[in-house]
């Protein structure tokens, strides 16, 4: 092989490899950018795109599915963003999906993130417009922070006043902290409370023991609670007792009425008990009766000695003596 031929081959290889690097670079970049695949164009309208640029990425579920194709003003002050979506990702994005402005890192580039979409809705088509999902801008977040800061200042101010009151012994809490008498009272109250709780504790133990006894099998309470026959008998006894008490109550009422009548003078017993005049008269009658009976007794004795009746009495005495 001649030197010139060798040189030609070397130059050929040199240029071939150089061009190969170029072509491989272009194709690798092409596959990275998915530049050679089929695409569909989908648009979305934002109020504020926060620095989104053409060529920026479009993500769906965290996967890059396309790029921003065009950004233009729309309507009043809104911005129409056209996106190229790869055809292979199209089948996963539904018409009710929403687009959100996001960034691919804390300080990364602005991206559009497509999310949501129910499987029931049809798949997006070329030229479709999807809904924009408004997110909180940094300014709005800062405004909320500012509000929080103000609240914090107010709260710390209150705390400051509270603590100074506490130190100065103002108010109930302050007095509690600074008044020794109150502290002593509190201490004794707590001691009392302690004693009370101990007593309560003991009582609870007693009650517990009592309840255990009540629960003993065959005991009175247990039978009362568990034996239905005993309960039925008890119930009838109580009923009878109730009836008896009702009768007693009626009797007492009658007695009451009778005694009330005794106090009045419109009936014989009442007159006998209450009328002085009648009493005097009864007394007189009784005296007269006594006198009369005495006289009658004498008359009868005289009669026994009379001959007409002497025989009869004699016969009677003899019969009595025979019986003895």
């Amino acid at each position: 092989m001649q030197v010139a031929d060798k040189r030609h081959i070397t130059v050929g290889i040199f240029i071939f490899i150089g061009l190969l690097i170029f072509v491989i670079g272009i194709f690798t970049l092409g596959s990275q950018k998915k530049a050679f695949g089929e695409r569909v164009t989908v648009s979305v309208v934002f109020d504020d795109i926060e620095g989104l640029k053409t060529g920026g990425n479009v993500w769906f579920s965290g996967v890059k599915v396309g790029t921003i194709k065009k950004i233009e003003f729309h309507g009043g002050s809104q911005v129409l963003v056209s996106m190229n979506i790869q055809e292979e990702a199209q089948q996963y994005i539904h018409k009710d999906a929403t687009a959100t402005l996001s960034s691919d890192g804390l300080i990364g580039n602005r991206i559009v993130e497509i999310s949501g979409g129910s499987p029931k809705a049809p798949i997006i088509q070329d030229g479709d417009r999807i809904q924009a999902n408004r997110t909180l801008s940094t300014d709005e977040i800062m405004a909320t922070f500012q509000e929080n800061n103000k609240n914090l200042v107010a709260i710390t101010g209150d705390f400051r006043q509270l603590s100074s009151n506490l130190v100065a012994g103002k108010g109930a809490a302050g007095a509690l902290l600074s008044d020794e008498g109150m502290a002593r009272d509190l201490k004794s109250t707590i001691a009392n409370l302690n004693a009370t709780t101990q007593a309560a504790d003991r009582m609870m133990m007693d009650l517990n023991r009592f309840a255990r006894t009540l629960n003993t099998k065959g005991g009175l309470a247990d039978q009362l609670l568990t034996d239905t026959a005993v309960f039925a008998r008890l119930r009838s006894s109580v009923n009878e007792l109730q009836q008896a008490s009702r009768s007693a109550s009626a009797m007492a009422a009658n007695l009451n009425a009778a005694s009330a009548k005794l106090n009045q003078s419109d009936n014989p017993a009442g007159v006998l008990l209450n009328d002085q005049q009648s009493a005097e008269r009864v007394k007189q009658i009784l005296i007269n009766l006594e006198k009369s009976s005495h006289n009658l007794n004498e008359d009868l004795k005289a009669l026994q000695s009379n001959f007409l009746f002497r025989g009869y009495f004699k016969k009677k005495r003899e019969q009595a003596a025979e019986q003895e």
Binding site: I17, G18, G25, T28, L29, K33
Partner: protein, 270 residues
């Protein structure tokens, strides 16, 4: 036509003694003539194919080792030096992307251009200068060979073809150097490195780099040839031709870099 063009620089210097400003405009006119002549004669038959391949070998292949080594070192050093700044806010994972942008957009064509201006520009200037001084060019004219076509067109074309090729090599080797540095320090895999570095690169970057490399190659060839072809007689003229080839080519490369950055920025969206 050939005679007129070739005699013109001699005429300006001998007939009159014009002022500095006038001389500058005259030399600009000469350059214009030279460039026009290249476009007129370079693409017309008969083609000097064999000589073109020879020049591609000399200009391109022979610079490959030097430029590859420089590219490898540049990639490694640039990555190493960029790391502390990114590490300051925990963004060393952006190193591949940063190096890729720097290398593919600017460093690869600029570095290749500057090194080629030093190596190739000076050799073209010296070679053609000594040929002019030793009257080999005049001899070629006498022997009915077109010296412009054989000497200038082949060299300018070879430079215009091989400098972009060298730029691709530089970019590849530079990225390889960056990858070596990144994989040793961050443990990044080749796949992740390629993914990350291409993430921020666009087709426009590659096209812009290629276009720049073509312009740089053309500039280096053209400046070297012009300086050598028009060198004044004497050995001093050869040295001067070689020297000014390098200086002017480098200056023009920077000028073109600035202009091309502005030009391609018009097409950039990010």
């Amino acid at each position: 036509m050939n005679n007129k063009s070739e005699q013109s620089p001699v005429d300006h210097k001998t007939v009159k003694a014009p002022g500095k400003l006038a001389r500058m405009f005259l030399s600009l006119y000469d350059v214009g003539q030279f460039v026009t002549r290249f476009f007129k004669e370079g693409f017309l038959p008969p083609y000097e194919g064999r000589e073109l391949i020879n020049q591609c070998y000399n200009i391109g292949y022979r610079s490959l080792l030097l430029i590859s080594t420089t590219g490898l070192i540049t990639g490694m050093v640039f990555t190493k030096q960029s790391r502390p700044s990114l590490a300051e806010f925990g963004a060393t994972s952006w190193l591949p992307s940063l190096v890729a942008i720097a290398l593919l957009r600017t460093l690869a064509p600029l570095l290749t251009g500057l090194i080629a201006a030093g190596k190739v520009g000076s050799s073209i200037g010296a070679e053609l200068g000594s040929m002019r001084v030793t009257e080999q060019i005049d001899a070629m004219e006498v022997s009915a060979t077109n010296p412009f076509k054989f000497l200038v067109s082949t060299r300018v074309l070879a430079a215009t073809i091989t400098i972009p090729i060298l730029t691709f090599y530089t970019a590849l080797v530079g990225m390889l150097g960056a990858f070596l540095n990144v994989t040793v320090n961050e443990g990044t895999t080749m796949e992740a490195f390629v993914q990350d570095s291409l993430e921020s690169i666009t087709f426009l970057d590659i096209i812009a780099s290629t276009v720049k490399a073509v312009i740089f190659g053309f500039t280096i060839g053209m400046v070297g040839c012009y300086q050598g072809y028009n060198s004044s007689k004497g050995t001093e003229g050869v040295g001067k031709a070689a020297n000014s080839s390098v200086v002017i080519a480098m200056f023009l490369i920077f000028l073109e870099e600035v202009i091309s950055v502005q030009f391609f920025a018009l097409f950039r969206t990010t």
